[in-house]
């Protein structure tokens, strides 16, 4: 039974290769949808009663929800997105799309280490193939390379981790560190995040949506399932908390400065992974101090934020895809005024952007609310956990504030104001299938924002009813009164006031200047320039300034670019060292056969000598009652 969804996806991928392009799209899409629905039915709904009872496979079932939901929506959205692409593109797209979904489900279903690793690698390779969708462009090739290297570097650490786990007395600290490195490469911890801002812009938008909303979460799944078993909760907690704070703050700072809309979203994913890590960190700290209330609030917050992030970021990436489809560009400073030309996409993007900044009553708020609650309760309980809580609360608030700046920039520069270029002025709304599919994610997230307080009730009821008996009810009242007050104010504004319908169209106030142009409006880069300046020690922006010179000044310009600090200051120097070292030993590879044979002979002699010398102090074979190591794999918790 468990294999059915994966089999459906496999057969769909094969079918989309075999049949004619026109049918391959149909087969590919249908099998992706049916496979995801089957996964929902067989894995999630069948065991649905388990979702809130924390049984053995709670983790697996939970992480499946975003994959299945985004799988369906992204598959439908792809139909619109792929229009106008060549047959080869469409066929390979659907082949790899189905395979990617199948491997993602397999990652969650398979337990044995070898199977897990195979599925994990398959997930990396199939998604890399999709990142290479526009393989003729330079950016895409570069992104694919970086992504493949990241995937394989991660796999190396994972193989080492699984080997370390088979030891008779496993060293859990080492395993935890290896898991953090291996899985952290997937979920984009600060420093290991370099592939995200490269791969997301290059991949087709429905794929970016799945990668950002469902795939990078699996890094957390891996750490929780394999890496954490016997690590002390305090150590795990502090690690997660510090990684989370770094990821949340630096992620959103870099996001804020980007002018490519999908790069911005990718950096924002790093921020959100940071927020989830903060939640988990507080959760483990709560466990370490035996404070189940804090732990459950923090973990619930992290879990809710994973779902929220999947829905909101999924929708944002689909909207970015619509913008790309309509204008052919992802540069926000080229856009402007798209709200008039693409009202549905614009509205969706703006609302989801506000949602992911954590503004109530949209659903991004609830996840952060739980994490805040855990932090505030951590304060009350005192001790070292209070210190962590202050850090968590202050950095969450700061990251939230910067997220507002980031997404008002993204929505403002892309959709509001006047068009800044020809492509933006001539854009038109994308096909209904693309709009509806992304809208369905938003509808889901709005529903979730009203269901989420119920989770608070559940968690509260678990512990101290007196403390939270009215919290659930009152959050509901807060939301409802917000709705009622909004409706009342809008009624007052547009119906009841004496001249409420008098609206004289005018022009934007221009301070008396006669000919305002779109070029004079604030661009996205200008919008965040003060914050970029403020954090320039961290961001190291690159500024190209051409000053006006001479008595009759010619054209002047200023360009501000912030490239990823992880690449510039961490990985590029390391890889430069490696390649310069490689260049030094390059002469050894002379191409002369006798040189190679000589090297082999020398190596053999050395090994023989080593074997003879080392063999003398080997233990007596008779005393060697060595037994094969007991291999145990727990099923996670």
């Amino acid at each position: 039974m468990t294999a059915i969804p994966i089999l459906i996806l496999f057969s769909g991928s094969l079918a989309s290769l075999i049949f004619k392009p026109r049918y391959s799209a149909i087969f590919g899409c249908i099998s992706a949808c049916v496979g995801s629905v089957a996964a929902l039915v067989f894995y999630i709904i069948k065991d649905g009663s388990l979702i809130f009872s924390y049984t053995n496979n709670f983790l697996e079932i939970f992480f499946m929800i975003p994959i299945a939901l985004l799988g369906i929506v992204a598959a439908i959205n792809s139909i619109g997105y792929l229009k106008g692409h060549s047959a080869v593109h469409v066929k390979t797209y659907w082949f790899f799309f189905n395979l990617m979904l199948a491997s993602m489900f397999s990652v969650l279903v398979l337990n044995a280490p070898v199977h897990f690793l195979l599925a994990w690698e398959a997930m990396g390779i199939t998604s890399a193939a999709l990142v290479a969708f526009n393989f003729r462009t330079k950016e895409s090739t570069r992104a694919t390379w970086i992504y493949l290297i990241a995937c394989h570097a991660g796999a190396v650490f994972l193989i080492l981790m699984f080997i370390a786990r088979t030891a008779v007395a496993p060293n859990w600290t080492v395993i935890f560190i290896l898991a953090l490195l291996g899985f952290g490469l997937k979920c984009g911890f600060m420093g290991l995040h370099v592939w995200l801002p490269e791969a997301h812009p290059a991949a087709p938008s429905p794929v970016s949506a799945i990668m950002s909303g469902a795939m990078i979460n699996l890094g957390f799944f891996g750490i929780l399932k394999f890496g954490i078993n016997s690590v002390s909760p305090a150590a795990a907690g502090w690690t997660f908390l510090l990684l989370g704070i770094a990821g949340a703050l630096l992620g959103i700072m870099f996001a804020m400065t980007q002018s490519n809309i999908k790069r911005l979203l990718a950096f924002s994913s790093i921020e959100n992974m940071g927020i989830i890590a903060i939640g988990m960190g507080l959760g483990f700290l709560g466990l370490s101090r035996d404070l189940p209330l804090i732990a459950s609030f923090a973990f619930t917050g992290a879990v809710l934020h994973i779902i929220n992030h999947a829905l909101l970021k999924g929708c944002l990436f689909l909207c970015a895809g619509a913008v790309l489809k309509a204008t052919g560009s992802l540069d926000m400073d080229e856009m402007g005024g798209l709200m008039k030309r693409m009202p549905q996409t614009g509205t969706l993007f703006a609302l989801n952007g506000i949602g992911i900044s954590g503004i109530p009553p949209l659903n991004g708020f609830m996840g952060e609310f739980f994490i805040y609650m855990a932090a505030l309760m951590g304060l009350v309980s005192g001790g070292s956990i209070a210190l962590g809580s202050v850090g968590a609360a202050v950095s969450l608030a700061f990251a939230g504030g910067l997220a507002v700046a980031t997404f008002s920039k993204a929505a403002g520069a892309t959709f509001l104001g006047e068009p800044r270029s020809e492509i933006a002025a001539t854009a038109s709304e994308v096909s209904p299938i693309m709009v509806l599919s992304s809208a369905s994610l938003f509808v889901l997230s709005v529903c979730l924002s009203f269901i989420a307080p119920l989770v608070l009730y559940k968690v509260g009821a678990f512990f101290d009813m007196s403390l939270f008996s009215n919290a659930f009810f009152n959050i509901f009242i807060a939301y409802t009164s917000f709705l009622i007050i909004t409706v009342t104010v809008l009624l007052l504004r547009f119906q009841l006031l004496p001249r409420s319908k008098d609206n004289i169209p005018g022009m934007t106030w221009d301070c008396g200047y006669a000919k305002p142009a779109a070029r004079m409006a604030y661009t996205g880069t200008a919008f965040t320039q003060p914050l970029t300046n403020l954090f320039s020690p961290l961001l190291q922006p690159i500024r190209n300034l051409i000053k006006p010179a001479g008595l009759f000044p010619g054209p002047a310009s200023v360009q501000l670019e912030v490239s990823d600090g992880g690449v510039r200051f961490l990985w590029a120097p390391i890889f430069d060292r490696i390649s310069s070292f490689a260049r030094k030993i390059h002469p050894a590879q002379s191409g002369r056969l006798h040189a190679y044979i000589l090297a082999m002979v020398v190596a053999t002699i050395l090994m023989l000598a080593w074997g003879l010398l080392a063999g003398q102090d080997q233990p007596d074979p008779e005393n060697d009652n060595h037994q094969p190591p007991v291999i145990q794999y727990s099923n996670g918790d």
């Binding site: 703006a350 109530p360 929505a411 403002g412 917000f482």
Partner: protein, 303 residues
């Protein structure tokens, strides 16, 4: 009683800018605008029609209303004097400040919708300063919760009494100063912003709402007055140990406190010049440092 205070607050909120302006006028030796000027403005604006830029979309049309609705909803959670809000719950302190943020976000989006360089600039600065302010406010919240052990706005703010001052006076004073700085910045007062200026380039909040007119502008004026009132109430409850007095006296003390803080804001605006924009983040860093120092002092010496 809470309801009476609540409606009194809604009614009296536009008085605060009047008090501030009168204080400033007194300092400058002028008569100044009438005490009730903000009321006249709002009533007059409500009677007018709107001029809206052809560049704008539904965003600008809805933004002021949503901003007002968010601020009104936030007001529901505010305790007044010793009276708890009827909808208070553990954790509403977060909801309160996030609702205020929601009001601000609506205005930022509205400003960007006009496509004007001035409003873009205002929105940019508002986003920058509010992001910095948010961390100070949450530092203050962390301190209050550390002090009282309660997570709701009502219980934690009302829970402060004389013992709080006698035992933790130093840190409480530091936090009050930090929150006062956040209050001035969040409500765009001098020295962070100048609500009186007429030069678009130097404004923050006022530059952001340049293109709103008629009832929209009335909503914005009222919402900003109400927000100022709420933040002043917060600091009054933080400073005054109202719990120790009888209900009637506490009510009088509360409204008296709001009056006094308004006068203090007026005095601050009269004696301090506006800071240079580039210097403002340093002030925020200072205020955040004050909060964190207060938390450390509390945790090390006063617990």
């Amino acid at each position: 009683m809470w309801y009476i205070c609540f409606f009194l607050s809604l009614l009296l909120a536009p008085l605060v800018p009047g008090i501030i302006n009168k204080t400033k006028a007194f300092y400058a030796g002028r008569y100044g605008p009438r005490l009730l000027q903000r009321y006249y403005d709002i009533v007059k604006l409500l009677k007018k029609g709107t001029v809206r830029s052809t560049t704008s979309t539904w965003v600008l049309a809805l933004a002021p209303s949503i901003s007002l609705a968010a601020t009104l909803t936030a007001a529901l959670f505010m305790p007044f004097a010793v009276y708890k809000s009827p909808v208070s719950f553990e954790g509403d302190i977060i909801v309160f400040f996030y609702l205020l943020a929601a009001g601000r976000v609506a205005l930022i989006f509205g400003a960007l919708d006009t496509g004007s360089a001035f409003e873009g600039m205002g929105a940019s600065r508002e986003a920058q300063f509010s992001a910095l302010c948010e961390s100070i406010v949450f530092g203050v919240i962390a301190f209050i919760i550390l002090l009282t052990g309660r997570l709701s706005l009502s219980t934690s703010l009302i829970g402060l009494d004389f013992t709080a001052w006698s035992q933790t006076g130093t840190s409480l004073a530091l936090v009050a100063v930090a929150f006062f700085a956040a209050l001035l910045a969040e409500n765009s007062r001098v020295p962070f912003d100048d609500p009186e200026t007429h030069l678009e380039l130097t404004m923050i909040h006022e530059a952001m709402v340049l293109d709103n007119s008629g009832p929209d502008f009335a909503f914005i004026q009222y919402a900003s007055a109400l927000k100022l009132w709420l933040m002043i109430s917060f600091i009054v409850l933080l400073i005054l140990p109202l719990k120790a007095t009888s209900p009637i006296v506490s009510g009088l003390l509360f409204f008296g406190g709001v009056f006094v803080i308004s006068v203090i804001i007026g005095i601050v605006e009269s004696v301090i010049a506006r800071f240079r924009l580039l210097k403002i983040p340093q002030v925020f860093a200072g205020a955040l440092a004050l909060t964190l120092i207060a938390i450390m002092i509390y945790m090390v010496f006063e617990i």
